[in-house]
Subunit: 300 residues, 2 copies
């Protein structure tokens, strides 16, 4: 059995995951708990940390965390590092909790062409993991509630943008007039209506507020089968996101997709159907790799 | 005092308004009640109608209604007339309640380039009113929860599209992560941040899901003043709607804006700032004119 060299934590708004990691990056043991920022209740971060890592904390190992735990509503606020951001800059920007429990990886800030800031926090560690795994430069798509598209250049986080796709899908499918047309939010990636909606979204993103409205009359008037509301909505929103990424990052010939579960299949299909070659990277594996890479940089 | 020649009703999802109208279109008297489709409670439509018009119903006058009262969840479902729709086709498609209380103007259905249906119900009567007032052909914008853009050609409803702009604004400002950045949903039409967001939305609609996300970091990081969240959100959504209308209807050199209150000022400014000449028509006046015009056609 390997000896632990590091404790790494991925601590977000819902869940925290802790890993005991060997010097070569192998995971020895894993623990997780619903003690994300919005789930703490009356407990302090220090209490939640002690509950989560338990007896692991008796080992004199370096401990490093990534994710929203370093945000304004987290344990401590770790200021954003400006893009373009190198691994060295991220290591230089690490925060430390007052009791010395954890080092926390900083997020990254970038400005769009109008000067408006955009941010990532947690994804920078996934990107470190992708780099460490041998994936070189390129364009990365990390779909979710707030999808992130990130351009890596020369091992540096050069540019990125966030798209509110997942949150829009949730709001529209549950709380808008479209809720009457959407009973099941599962979407099959091979559904031709999904791929048609993606293509239309990529080709004519300006129509988005019209295309999603029409989901309702399409069902009322029997044009679209009952049950296809989520398919059309998901396709329209993902297609518009891809159109936005093209405007921002140029041609999407090759996309490194960091995702897991059903979302990875949906985005892979949507991207392939609109002309991209997709490399799939597992989200959990890259966050682990990123925590390991950051720790190596810090403590080796 | 004029003699009443007609009772007209504008009966929507929240409110119903009844007008006693003279033969020349002048309004003699008005009544309204919160008895829209979603406000009826246990009352029947017939009971709500009797309560609303009261003693007016003793006069042997033609009675005509427009709005959601003719939808599937209304008093009776009046089938949509296909676009391109003439005044004669609308008159030919009138529905009648079983007790003979009301004639109801039908809505109109159109298909987009992919064959997906879109619908209006109530707006067709406003357009009849605009035509009757002497406004000729052209492009009409009717902003709201579901904004309608309609092209009239040769006095016919030729094409239209619905944009979910108002509903998106409501959902995003109150129930998304942006709610943390939006305390006041009032938007001043002259605010430079509003006009900049409109222009960016018109120029790069593909960025919409990114532009609205950035409202949050823009405030967190002090780039944008506290209180400007609604301004940026409203501008981004209206700008994207205008971009969509350009794709669908071509250059928007001249737009007939049918609106009232704060929305009319917002849309007028947004359209003028992006190159359109705007003619403002009062929404209440045109619905009245439309009920009168439809009645003239039917009963003269």
């Amino acid at each position: 059995m390997s000896t632990a060299a590091l404790i790494g934590l991925d601590w977000g708004t819902s869940v925290a995951r802790a890993y005991r990691i060997a010097a070569d990056g192998t995971v020895i043991d894993t623990r997780s708990a619903d003690c994300g920022l919005q789930k703490l209740g009356a407990r302090s971060f220090a209490e939640a940390f002690t509950d989560l890592v338990g007896d692991w904390s008796r080992e004199p190992l370096p401990r490093i965390a990534a994710g929203m735990i370093g945000s304004r509503n987290g344990w401590i606020e770790v200021p954003y590092v400006d893009a373009p951001a190198t691994l060295a800059a991220l290591a230089g920007g690490l925060g430390r909790t007052p009791g010395g429990e954890l080092a926390i990886v900083p997020g990254v800030m970038v400005r769009d062409r109008e000067g408006t800031p955009d941010v990532i926090r947690g994804e920078e560690t996934q990107l470190l993991g992708a780099l460490a795994s041998g994936v070189g430069d390129g364009l990365f798509c990390m779909p979710g509630t707030h999808s992130k598209w990130v351009a890596l250049k020369a091992g540096t986080i050069a540019d990125f943008a966030t798209y509110m796709t997942g949150e829009l899908f949730g709001l529209l499918s549950r709380q808008s007039i479209l809720a009457h047309a959407i009973s099941d939010t599962k979407v099959a990636p091979d559904n031709p209506e999904f791929l048609a909606a993606v293509a239309a979204g990529v080709d004519r993103p300006a129509d988005i507020a019209n295309r999603i409205f029409e989901i309702r009359p399409a069902q009322l008037l029997g044009f679209s089968p009952i049950g296809s509301g989520a398919v059309r909505l998901s396709g329209a929103l993902i297609g518009t996101e891809i159109a936005g990424a093209r405007v921002r990052f140029g041609k999407l010939d090759r996309v490194h997709l960091i995702a897991s579960g059903s979302l990875s299949k949906l985005y892979a299909k949507a991207l392939e159907a609109t002309g991209s070659t997709v490399d799939l990277l597992d989200a959990d594996a890259v966050v682990l790799g990123g925590l390991h890479a950051a720790a190596l940089r810090l403590w080796s």
